[in-house]
Structure formats: structure tokens, C-alpha cells
């Protein structure tokens, strides 16, 4: 049977595109590592060496938001169009967002240990906001995993995907107001254009890496759902009166 999918879909689904994407991510990570390494002497001399973790913390913080935003987009589009692919998009975005969120929390905690000698500080608004956001999206994934009926699962998850994202700014403001700020203050030298460029290059590299994970998860989920749909159709045909 000829492949009826559109050309971009066929290109994106081709194994070679995953290999190319993976190589791009790998090359980006290596170059990013090299860039960060060039900052080591400066960081040790003028800042605290623990500052280096910020090069990994910042890209993951932004990417967490990007992928949780992707979950919101997929949820809204699913509610409007009812097409399962938007639910898959939302679900995979949430999974990748949670992964980036774990890296965000791990790097944040490492920084906290180096700076304040505590792994966890309850009054830091950004660490707390990130943790609350993670709890909310872990709830989203629990909901996705906990419902068998596909229509219910997709609809309810999409509704929660919208609620979860709406809460983020309120969480941030509330914790900022009712906690005490102890997040790293702005240090001299951080406004250096090449430091900013390194930081944003990190955002791009991690985005490429996480997009690869998103594509991989989505393609696996699509296959799983197609098999489940086919089995469901066979079951219904067998049960139908002859």
C-alpha cells in the first residue's frame, strides 16, 4: 500500500531524521560544554565557582516553561478540535517539561547547597514555584495514566492542562509575596554579552535535545494508540451480531 502521509510527516518519521536530530543535539551539547568551560577561570576568579551551574539551570528553567506552554497549547487545541494528536502533543510536552523541571530542581538544589549549605530552602520563591509547578504536572501525568477510556482521558487531561498552566503566575506571585527572596542576586559581570550569549545558546541546545525526546515519545505513543485502536475495532467486530 502506498504511503499516503504528507511529505513533511514522512521526512520527520524517517529514522534518518532522528539520527540527524540526535547528532545535532550531541554536537550542540559538546559545543555548549566547551563554551561553559571557557568561563571556568573567570567564574572562579570573579564569581563563585558554583555559579557555573547556572549555565545549566537557566536553560532548563526556560525549557520547562516552553514545554508546559506546549502542554497548554495541545490541551486547548484538543478541546477545540477533538483530534487525538493534540492530546498526544500535550501529554508528551508535559512529560518532557517534567523532565526539564527535574533538571531545573536538581541544579537549583545543588546551587542552594553550594550557596547556603542546605539542599532545600523553603522560603526561596523560585525553587518553591518550580516545585509546586512540578507537583501540578505530575498530577497531570497521574490523570493521563489513571483513566482507561480514551475520550474521557483526553478531555479531562486537556481541562486539567489548562487549569495547571493558569495557576503558574498566581503560584509565582503568591510565593514571592509570602516567602522571603533568597534567590541568587544579580552579580557583577553577568551582564557581559558573551555570558548572556552562552546562556541563550544553552537554551537553544537544551531545546533541540528536548524536542528530540518529544518527537521520540510522540512517535511511540502514536504507534501504541494506533495498535490499541485497531485491537478495539477487532474486538467490536468480533462482538457484533452476525
Amino acid at each position: 500500500m502506498p504511503d499516503q502521509r504528507s511529505l513533511p510527516v514522512r521526512v520527520l518519521d524517517h529514522p534518518a531524521s532522528y539520527v540527524a536530530h540526535g547528532l545535532l543535539a550531541l554536537a550542540g551539547l559538546f559545543y555548549f560544554g566547551y563554551l561553559v568551560a571557557t568561563w571556568v577561570p573567570f567564574a572562579i576568579k570573579q564569581l563563585k565557582s558554583s555559579y557555573l551551574i547556572f549555565f545549566f539551570h537557566f536553560p532548563n528553567a526556560l525549557n520547562t516553561f516552553v514545554f508546559f506552554g506546549g502542554c497548554l497549547g495541545g490541551s486547548v487545541l484538543f478541546l477545540i478540535t477533538k483530534q487525538p494528536r493534540w492530546d498526544r502533543w500535550a501529554r508528551c510536552s508535559a512529560e518532557v517539561g517534567v523532565m526539564a523541571g527535574f533538571v531545573l530542581l536538581a541544579t537549583g538544589m545543588t546551587w542552594a547547597k553550594a550557596a547556603w549549605d542546605h539542599w532545600w530552602v523553603w522560603d526561596d520563591p523560585r525553587l518553591m514555584s518550580a516545585a509546586v509547578m512540578m507537583l501540578t504536572y505530575l498530577g497531570y501525568l497521574t490523570l493521563q495514566a489513571g483513566i482507561e477510556d480514551p475520550h474521557k482521558r483526553r478531555t479531562f487531561s486537556a481541562v486539567f492542562g489548562v487549569l495547571a498552566f493558569l495557576n503558574i503566575p498566581i503560584v509565582h506571585k503568591a510565593i514571592e509575596w509570602f516567602g522571603e527572596t533568597s534567590h541568587p542576586p544579580k552579580l557583577d559581570g553577568l551582564s557581559d554579552p558573551s555570558i548572556i550569549a552562552t546562556r541563550w545558546f544553552g537554551v537553544l541546545v537544551f531545546l533541540i535535545l528536548y524536542l528530540l525526546l518529544l518527537r521520540w515519545r510522540q512517535s511511540r505513543l502514536t504507534t501504541t494508540e494506533e495498535i490499541e485502536d485497531a485491537l478495539d475495532r477487532i474486538r467490536r467486530l468480533e462482538e457484533a451480531p452476525r
Binding site: 507537583l135 497531570y140 497521574t142 490523570l143 481541562v159 487549569l163 498566581i170 503568591a174 510565593i175
Partner: protein, 229 residues
Amino acid sequence: MNPLRAYFSLVRWDWAREWKRKETLIAMAMMSLITLFIFSVAMPPVQEVLEDTRGGILWVTFVLAGTVGIDRAFRGDGDGRLLTGLLLSPVGRGTVYYARITSTMLGVVLMEAMTLGLFMLLFDQSLEWEGLLVVVGVTLAATLGFVAVGVILSAMTWSLRGGDAILRILLFPLLIPLLSAAVHATNEAFAGRPIGFQPVAVIGAFDLVFIGAGQLLFEFVVDGTETGT
């Protein structure tokens, strides 16, 4: 049917039902009493400790006991006939949503009034009239947001296997900003200090965002429930 009249009839019908059986009210009251006693053994109930923690004790109790009521907002007798009945009634989905928020909130507020009285009695706390008014205002405003988001989640989870646990897993993280504002304001009111603008802004924003989103999303939840079962 006039939406306002439909709204009042739904709330009245609900309350007539609950008042006859009092199942949810009793469950919430028991949960609240038990939580207060757990707090009394979990931390030394002395004045110095309570000065910083009374807002937290009250709100954790409100939320744990209130969730029992919210969990039952659509569960009814456990067979789902309550939601089906509501949807078959000739009223708009928005009216059903607001009526459900109102009748659930009435139960939760009754539990909160009882909890506040018991807390002040058992933990030897006192409030000036102004402080009491502030606590009542903050409690009503924050309970509105709590119930509004809870009702939407309850409509989603009542029919799921392990739905009561899923409800709590979804609801509690969403409530954290509301709780931090309400706890802060309650502590300030007990201490006789003005609560300031910030808790009011957070609670107000939470109420507006989640009531608005709730009304829009309730339609989809109902659609998911109807075609999924």
C-alpha cells in the same frame, strides 16, 4: 426556564436532600475534628508555637475536611445518577456549575464555622471583632476559589477508579497560592495586624481566574463524561 430561578431551585433541591441525610456534613465535621486533634499531638499546642501556626492549622483543616464535601459534589449515591439528573434538567450547564459551587460551598462554610469555633475553644484563641470580620471575609473569599476549582475536578474524578485519591493529587497543588495567601491573612488577623493588599490580590485573582475558567471548562468536562460512559 429562567436561569436565576433554575439556579435557586437546584440549590434548594440539593440542600433539601443533604439536610435530610446530613451524610456529607457529618463526614466533613468528623474529618475536621479529627484533624484538629491530630494537630494537637503533632505540635506542642502552646501559645508561642500557635502564634505562627494558627492560620496554617485552620486552613489545613478547612482543606482536608472541605475536600470530603467537594469529593461528593457529583458522586451522589455513587452511581452517577446525580450528574445525569442534573444534566437532564432543562437548565444551562453554566447554571448547573454555579448551583453546584453554591450548594457545595454552603456545606464547606458550615464546616469552617464549626472548625473556627472549635479551634478557638480547644486551642484557647481569641479574636477582636475586627479580626473576626477579616477572618470571615478571607475565609469566604478563599473558600469560593477552593470550591470553584474543586467542583470542576470533582466532576472529572467522581467516576474514576481511585477518583477520590486523584482528586486530591490534582487539587492540592493548585491550591497552594490560595492557601499561602489565606494562611498569611489569617495569621495577621489573629495577631491584630492589617492584612494588606497582597493576600486580597492573590485570593481575588485565584477566584476570578478559576471561576471564569471553570465555567468555560465545565462544558467540556460534561461532554467527556457523557460520551465516555
